[in-house]
Amino acid sequence: MTQEDRRARKAQRRAQSREAKGEDAKPPRSERARRARDEQKDQMGTASTRDRRVAPEARDLRQAGKSGKAGASLPKLGVRGTLLFLWRQLTSMQTALFLLLLLAIAAVPGSLYPQRNVDASKTEQYISEHGSWAKFLDTLGFFDVFSSVWFSAIYLLLFVSLVGCVIPRLGVHLRQIRSRPPRTPSRLRRFAGFTRVELPGGDVEAVAARAAKTLKRSRYRTDVLEEKGGARSVTSERGYLRETGNLLFHVALLGVLVGVAAGGLFQYRGQITVVEGEGFSNSLAEYDSFEQGAWYDSSKLPSFRFTLDDFRAEYDTSSNEHRFGQPKKFEADVTVDDPDKSGEYSKTLRVNQPLHVQGTTMYLLGNGYAPEVTVKDPDGNVVAEGPIITIPSGDTGYTSQLVIKAPDAQPKQMAVVGFFLPTGVIDEKGPHSEFPGLVNPQLALTVYNGDLGLDDGVPKNAYQVDVSSLTPVADSDGNQSLVSLTPGESQTLADGSSISFDGVKRYAAFDIKRDPFQVFTLVMALSAVLGLVLSLFVPRRRVWVRAVPSAHGVVLEVAGLARSDDDRLVEDVRALAERLADSASTAADPSPSDDTSADSPSSDSPRPAPQTPETDSSQSKPSHEGPLQ
């Protein structure tokens, strides 16, 4: 083994271990020197189209601001320099990594504490239960994590960094895409999968041309170079899509952010409740609640109407304790009147099957019971009548709270408060329902008299009443009377007022929303995935072929360089060498069908494998004659 061989091996071993750490192999010294020469040439304005500075420059942009040296020279930089320094710092890979990590950590409290945007009443309850500590957390924004200053700051900085990172890389990449692959290194031996084959006879030019053709077919960008001593080399590179994908990914993330933000500005959403048999026409007054983005124009509310024809619910009746009473089916039949379409149409809404109408979407999100009740005051006037929407209290049995306010009752205003029980049981636990279906519907009510306080102008929740200032109606013994009714029954109280339970209807609760940017956001998200897949799975590599004339014919050298994780490179380079050697040996009868891609080495005809130095480790000679001849 020559001294030189040993040195080459050492260098190569170093390169390998460096590459294993994910670094790009530093080009061998000679290549670095040549690169410097080229740079000079570029500066002198020679017509070299190759932009060899591209790759290191890209890296520098990402990794600029590696404190140390830059920091030391800070004082000399002046204002502009300092800003530049800060900008470099912000757009460095380390900062991006740090901000990403920070983003993940900052999101966690959002899952630990109740959030206003998810459940406002639960949040208020939590705060009132946890005293000053909770108040302190509240001022820090722990109950609105995702709109808090610190969370927003992190993601905005991240996206600024992203822009600052992507724009230069975009420029570099565009230039690179248009340039030709860099020149073949002078010593291929140091690169991956190096294979050397001596071909008897043959012509340097033909070998190079064939190599270029094969590489082109495998979508390599190739360039044939004339070298000294009559040699020819083919330089090629592929996998530009990797960087394209990476840029697409990052830009698309930006797009997602834009889509979400724009959606927030232009959207609206509202909640409605509709009792079976009743209708809804889309106008602001009909909503229970309505939120709109800052730039939404509510005068443009679309003008559809619909009727809830029927609502069906089904519950599990099996004996398993976990399953019993669990919902099995919710369905709402609606008849929609859409002015954009001629005539009405019917549709069944289910939980995962919303209704799309006039650019808005309507979701079935809740349901409950609306018992039909008639309330008469002691004078016999009907003061409340019809289906009353009740609020399920959250148990499996759908025990629902009912509140009726009758401000017109004489001589005093009346309030009826109590429960509707779909499958009622009244025992020592008080009135409750054991099953959510209508097996034994019951009303358990108390009637109050007094001033409902509706006249003082403060808006009141229709589903709540404060009974502390009211007097319960008592029976003849002076006890508070409990009214208990099944459908069809009615009861008259001691003061002469009466309540009748006429029947039960169901109601459905819908969310109606419009977000004109959601499709845009989805497209951006999917583009991000596309970019991601390209950038993770497209290998970027260079492959070189050199044909040198020799005494016996041509010496063919093939090698490659992985510019990303690329576990098939060696295999592919060898396969290419084999193919070129093969076709050269049959050069007298060139068969065009032999041009299989260098990336799919599986050729169907069995061939003697070229002996590569790796497999024949017993020999110390790196080149091999023999099997291919």
Partner: protein
């Protein structure tokens, strides 16, 4: 609606699977302890081979520069630990002692490992059959609650392991590391989370997103699990190499802990190859998590009219995604490559576990589908 007999059969098959996995674990465990015990015998052999090995090593490096990724990466890499000349980063002694691994695989260990592998393979087939039967019995995909989700993802982990190690036989040595967590998961699911076969709650019905979103989530979870095992091994392997180098320099024995660990890590691919495999698994996992996130958002939009509402489950899926993004970034960031990045991968898996247990059982959100009201 529910075919109770099929459901019973499915439950029975799961029990049989667990028994087979226990046997597999015993086999793999015996193999592993055999491997670490034989270490002392090998030391002699190793010394004998050292001189030969060193010479061979020089020759194998040859003039060809294989990337380290080629040694470990995909199924295209070399398969037998005895003939991996590309693993040249650890020169001399390490590669010589690995050279003797081929010899060591004859004997009892192969029997135990082979037994473990066969048990795991049969178990995996029954496991998958059980999940298919559960699906047929309920006429839906078998991932409607935590029990079903656990059972399906553990089936996938074992199946992936069995399939990957058909060709990469050296990875079978790691059977213990796969079977142990899988068995723990299955036993917890079997005792604490089990539910009879039943229909889905309405919020999960009528939606192909159930299949797409949760299907991808299961694959992502399984890949993350395997990836975490590989990342842990990578860290362990690097650490062992350092310890071994330090002890050898100081001429001290490896001791009762590092001795067996070193015997183990010498028989699996080296740190660079593990790093490459780790990256492969995590890039696939990250793509799957991205899809999980997007499909989840699309589904939430279909079901609730909000594609993202920062519900605890959504928060944690986001956290998982960002942490894995950190991992991928770290691999390209100066000062974080290699082992530091692997810690991000482990952190990512820790988040997966939190998302799976704490978020499902403790924190209540709209996504409470554990079925354990």
């Amino acid at each position: 609606m529910i075919d109770q007999q099929l459901a019973e059969l499915s439950n029975l098959l799961i029990i049989v699977t667990i028994v087979l996995y226990v046997l597999a674990l015993i086999g793999f465990g015996a193999d592993l302890s055999g491997v670490t015990q034989r270490r002392s015998d090998e030391k002699l052999e190793k010394q004998k081979r050292e001189s030969e090995g060193a010479r061979a090593e020089l020759a194998t490096v040859g003039a060809s520069a294989g990337t380290a990724a080629a040694a470990g990466g995909g199924p295209g890499g070399s398969t037998d630990a005895g003939t991996t000349p590309t693993r040249t980063a650890t020169a001399g002694k390490a590669s010589a002692s690995r050279g003797s691994a081929g010899a060591a695989t004859s004997g009892n260990a192969l029997g135990a490992r082979g037994f473990g592998y066969v048990m795991a393979s049969i178990g995996a087939v029954l496991h998958i059959t059980a999940m298919v039967l559960r699906g047929v019995a309920t006429w839906r995909v078998p991932w409607g609650n935590m029990y079903e989700f656990s059972m399906t993802s553990s089936a996938l982990i074992v199946a992936l392991f069995v399939i990957i190690s058909i060709r990469r036989k050296d990875l079978r040595l790691l059977g213990t590391l796969v079977m142990l967590p899988v068995l723990v998961l299955m036993l917890i699911a079997q005792t604490a989370w089990i539910l009879p076969a039943s229909d889905l709650t309405p919020s999960l019905q009528n939606s192909h997103w159930l299949i797409v979103h949760i299907g991808v989530a299961i694959i992502a979870t399984a890949l993350s699990g395997l990836g975490a095992i590989v990342a842990a091994l990578q860290l362990l392997s690097t650490r062992t190499q350092k310890v071994r180098a330090a002890r050898e320099a100081a001429d001290r024995p490896l001791g009762r802990f590092w001795g067996p660990v070193s015997a183990l890590t010498e028989r699996i691919p080296g740190p660079e190859a593990l790093e490459a495999l780790c990256f492969r698994l995590h890039s696939l996992a990250f793509v799957c998590w991205t899809f999980t996130l997007i499909f989840g958002a699309v589904w939430a939009n279909e079901a609730w009219g909000r594609y993202w509402n920062w519900d605890p489950k959504e928060v944690w899926t986001f956290v998982i995604w960002v942490v894995y993004a950190c991992y991928l970034h770290a691999r390209a960031t100066r000062g974080f490559r290699g082992n530091k990045a692997a810690w991000f991968a482990l952190a990512g898996f820790a988040c997966v576990i939190i998302n799976y247990t704490v978020v499902n059982l403790v924190i209540n959100g709209l996504h409470s589908y554990s079925g354990l009201g």
